[in-house]
Symmetry: C2
Subunit: 413 residues, 2 copies
Amino acid sequence: MEHVLCGKCVRCGREYPAVPDLKTCGCGGILDITYDYDRIRPRLTKDVLAGRRTPSMWRYRELLPVEADTPAPPLRVGWSPLYDAPRLAEQLGLKELWIKDDGLNPTASLKDRASSMAVAKAREAGAQVIACSSTGNAASSLAGNAAAAGLQTYIFVPSRAPQGKVAQLLTFGATVLSVQGSYEDTFELSKAAIARWGWYDRNAAVNPYLSEGKKTVSLELMEQLGWCVPDYVALSVGDGCTIAGVWKGLKDLYALGLIDRLPRLISVQAEGCCPLNRAIAEDAPWRPMEENTLADSIAVGVPRNAEKALMAIRESHGLVVNVSDEEILEAQKLLGRTCGVFGEPAGVTGTAGVRKLCEQGVLGAKDTVASIVTGNGLKDVANAIRANGSPISVAPDMQQLLQAFADNGIDPA
Amino acid sequence: MEHVLCGKCVRCGREYPAVPDLKTCGCGGILDITYDYDRIRPRLTKDVLAGRRTPSMWRYRELLPVEADTPAPPLRVGWSPLYDAPRLAEQLGLKELWIKDDGLNPTASLKDRASSMAVAKAREAGAQVIACSSTGNAASSLAGNAAAAGLQTYIFVPSRAPQGKVAQLLTFGATVLSVQGSYEDTFELSKAAIARWGWYDRNAAVNPYLSEGKKTVSLELMEQLGWCVPDYVALSVGDGCTIAGVWKGLKDLYALGLIDRLPRLISVQAEGCCPLNRAIAEDAPWRPMEENTLADSIAVGVPRNAEKALMAIRESHGLVVNVSDEEILEAQKLLGRTCGVFGEPAGVTGTAGVRKLCEQGVLGAKDTVASIVTGNGLKDVANAIRANGSPISVAPDMQQLLQAFADNGIDPA
């Protein structure tokens, strides 16, 4: 990997050779993959990208930490659609709003980007087994991407994981351990098991390559925007790995001269579980919190990648905002009705935050915002139905239909 | 639409001008949109397509029945991934097998292709309201595509529709009528309501433009295969509209000289509901059947597009095969474990049929097959969990984990 310099600890600065099974620093800090931008700059230009048809994250191979001959894993991950949302922008009072629907990845979440990278690196490492702990999406994405590549998986999820994610895991043939405890308990058990059996580690807060997969969402976002940088990029935050990855991608593009300024990040957490946003708001070290939200993917009381996430928010002069579960479900409906995008609760939390900042007057008519939907609503149907009520039940008869419309105050004319 | 000649009745041959709200023939027959291939041929070449980046069904605009200035609707439909599946091919004893995962469309089914077309034509017709009846997927795709375009929808679904599809409908803001009856009852009620209130009709067996949307799945398939035609294209069949659309696309490409032969279709239905396959097998007119299968999307006892579907199967010298619900769930697991593709029951029914034909020796080591997965497994989580059992429940403790592995006969080493 001539374009990769090393893995550098974000805490103590120590540098490590970029071997395929790189983990955390001896000091406990998380590593950041550093690149030789001078080498990459002439190879990855706007023109080069404009000529590429590959509609996947692997179109950015020059910025990904893999060997030149490492095959892209089988599932087609990335190049999710970016929608201009003029009606929603108008409703919220924004100048421009774009919605990037990452729920349209193969296993229906942004986490596919990290899992595709994990499979590529596991192959480089010669591993046959990959393992992770996850609130659900990292798990199902790892299971799917590994199955397509013929690799075996051990997956640890908290017992609260929604049925949709569990169904995916089982269908993909993963060995699924449902841990009776919090995400923190789940993470620790997976860590111990990985150490014991030597599986390839897909925990995003341990394996520094995974953020590099996640960063492709912002590479795509900027290319899809024609390299015009929005004022803000909003997304939900749990473990901290995704926002760290998003920031890394933006900084890569800035270092290469592909964008001429950096957007500010908007970190959105659930009111019932917001340890990172609290740390920013209080300008204090983060402290653990309860995991009290229906947005299961971001119900992370002990964020495993707090250092990188907090650095990203601070470096970008970012905003933080917390939203209630009700505000999350309202955002789900809003995105469905105005954009035809159905996100899971954590998936729409970024948009819920944007809406709240608009209502508070923090964002307004001069601002352009991109909001990333990180997972598909089909993963958690129960909460969507809870938020939306029921269909109108009718017998197959026109008189009954007329009555049903009248009863529900609907004028079909 | 200078490239469109007319809508021609498949039963009596009568021709109608291609107005935006075209429906069925006066004789009751379904119309088929006919094109001026001589006009299209020089405009839609392999080179022209190779230069297009648009990763959506609208890359084939020259072959779609819309005005030149009709905008493509907002949601990005089509250009779903095609996966080479060498391990599954080997397991089944086929020369080559490709899986096209159409469950990765915006609302997670192939039906998005027809709904995108419906939205485009409704706009041409100046309509503000679109309606349809559906076993579920046409409904949720119409609701999503219409919401993104700012159009209102009335949707009729049988009360058996799975929760995932209902959740989508409600989130997209459709007015949803859950009809206490069969799909046939649901269809008839929607037909009466559409006639009464004059909504734009998105019933695929009435509106001849919708097949033209669906056909894009085979246009893509052939382009993704580099215009090398497989021996067979397999898919599940319910109403008959999808297989008719698939065949139409193949014939279009053949007429334009973009492919040099036509594949044979494999029509797969559920044993508990196979009126079309029965008609082919008995070489007799089709007769209604009970709707007795868990594959809800193809549980269609009175297929509304029997004429086009039967013509497609016969013209292609196609094969028909029926599969049990158990075989469907087995195919779901097989696709998950070997390809990382999670399809809903009806979505994987095509692959279930391929597997059965391999076991029967009808297909074998000389054959190349493309199998279309028509919908995402996340739409029907209950059946997937039923098929796959449960995760292994453990307390967050290494001793408990060791015990759980031992109890389940798992050797993690």
